[in-house]
Assembly symmetry: T
Homo-oligomer: 69 residues x 12
């Protein structure tokens, strides 16, 4: 598996429901323009508050994917 | 929206259920003494273990809010 | 409670379901070889992607436990 | 000057003009509710973009001040 | 505003005049190839020195922008 | 003990004698305005030098305390 | 040389031979889709182990390059 | 002295008296199960507060030791 | 491959020859007491100097391995 | 340009006017005792507050310069 | 007090007795070659272990001092 | 060996060949003006790219050395 090269893109997914759902949204949207998504790493977890409740989560991710040949 | 000033308070929410629930508890309790809560950022996620299970999550947050005039 | 000494082990739990489930798996497996588990701290949250969905979460934890006498 | 105790508050100043102006706004607003402001430290410099220009700077600061006796 | 997804690009702007001007140059140039620029965060501030004066500032930024549909 | 919420304040204690004495001074002074102090974490240890000796230590701490109900 | 703008991409090169070779592979592959590569910075050095030997090195790099006009 | 291999364990020592005493307690307890302890590095200094005084210090250390042959 | 649990050990390999050789020495020695070594991550690269030359490299690694059942 | 060796010195410039002016002051003063100054990197931006205004900025820099032969 | 320029040197003090004594030794020795020492900041606290006791503390400090005119 | 005091200088070595060679060049050049070099720690590994190949490595090091008496 060696000598492959990967690129890493940083994206931010949001969700009203959960941290996991924000990750899913980020990956799902990114997959429309990036092929071969392979792994992710959570870099920051934030969110906005409205009326004293979480309005939505914002999870920033690094996404790793294999370079197309 | 410029020239506003915000303050940031650090709080720790706990929950037996989930990381999201610990965030909710922190925001709900903080909102009793802080008005205009606007955003949060997760800084650390910890927890205590009892009988080889998670007893409760402890999530430390920075909470941003607008200064009252 | 003072003058006790604790050790810290680093483990990585995985789960197809959620971040909390990956933490549970890490603690449950570690508890088979470590007694007196007391606390955890999440250090990194990653995961693998398969077919544009999260295949599984990988959550690395520090686990604190009391030294046996 | 020793044995004094200081507190540190975190605030975010904003400005359309410059990073220095955002710092001034943060200090000016905080000084209405905090006495004895003594020093600051810039922790993050961010901003919002509108129409491909900086709409305003957001500078987060730690503000140090002496405890009132 | 939830469930939106953002991407983050890292750029370095330079300027002979000021840190703010280097930020402006980075945003202005990036906007030619990226639509919907929304926020920036300063990651590093450096520069080159010539004849014992600042020759130019180099400010590295993360730029956030909404994914096109 | 779960579902409790804690707040964290940052303070700087100073002392001519020792790091531990600076921590004591910070906690003692903070306790006059904060109830239920529960834990601390040392964030930075600095000091001023006078006549080639330590004039006083400055220890910055995060102080955790339970929210009053 | 001022007022130029650079972009930074993050890539991961792999190699069975050495850290330097993994850097070369990353740059060589990235150069097929990025012109004007100018500098790199090593961010992480990892690798996989097979049969108690390094199977391959994984070196993540930030690559800086000049924006095309 | 080259080509030796060392392992690093993380432990937390506690003490009612001082930071140095917490370090001593950690090393003394760890030495009952680890031979050849060689160096330490302080990673975090925390503590618990009781009745507005330090109840005990908690000092987390990395302990380096030579692998037994 | 999900729901597996991994442990992480920190070791320091040394070598007179190269950084890669210090990594090899660390893995080779650790493999005598740890089964199923899977990955490594370089955390620090240091070394000792003797007579104005590198006497030996010291590379500290985190080693990941699967828990035995 | 390879095989050159550079040294890095850390300095703190101060200014009543601006962050850029504090950088200029640091470089100008350092250039009296250091030749061949080549680059700088801002490490911390702080300042003192007097009468609820910025009294002066303190900008700590790393300064890179070529070793004299 | 503005427009002054300071330099920062990094030193490591050692002591068999305490962390504070290691700081004193560093400052005392540095003061023989550096005038106008003004402040210090502890960056790392380490030490060597001999016979399961602390042989000596190693405290690395940044020392700030005013540039001579 | 206690109560000795060390100083730390930061240097950047460059090499067309390898990371290790850049470290050697830094130490060799620094040793012309610094006696008693004792250890190094790699802080950053960067480099310049020319014609899609590594033109030279730049390795920044902290160099520790004993104070002359």
């Amino acid at each position: 598996m060696s000598d492959k090269v990967y690129a890493i893109s940083k994206v931010v997914g949001t969700s009203k429901k959960s941290i996991e759902d924000a990750i899913d949204n980020a990956i799902s949207t990114a997959s429309k323009s990036i092929n071969n998504l392979d792994w992710f790493e959570v870099k920051e977890t934030r969110g906005y508050i409205d009326n004293n409740k979480v309005a939505y989560y914002q999870v920033s991710l690094e996404l790793g994917f294999r370079y197309e040949k």
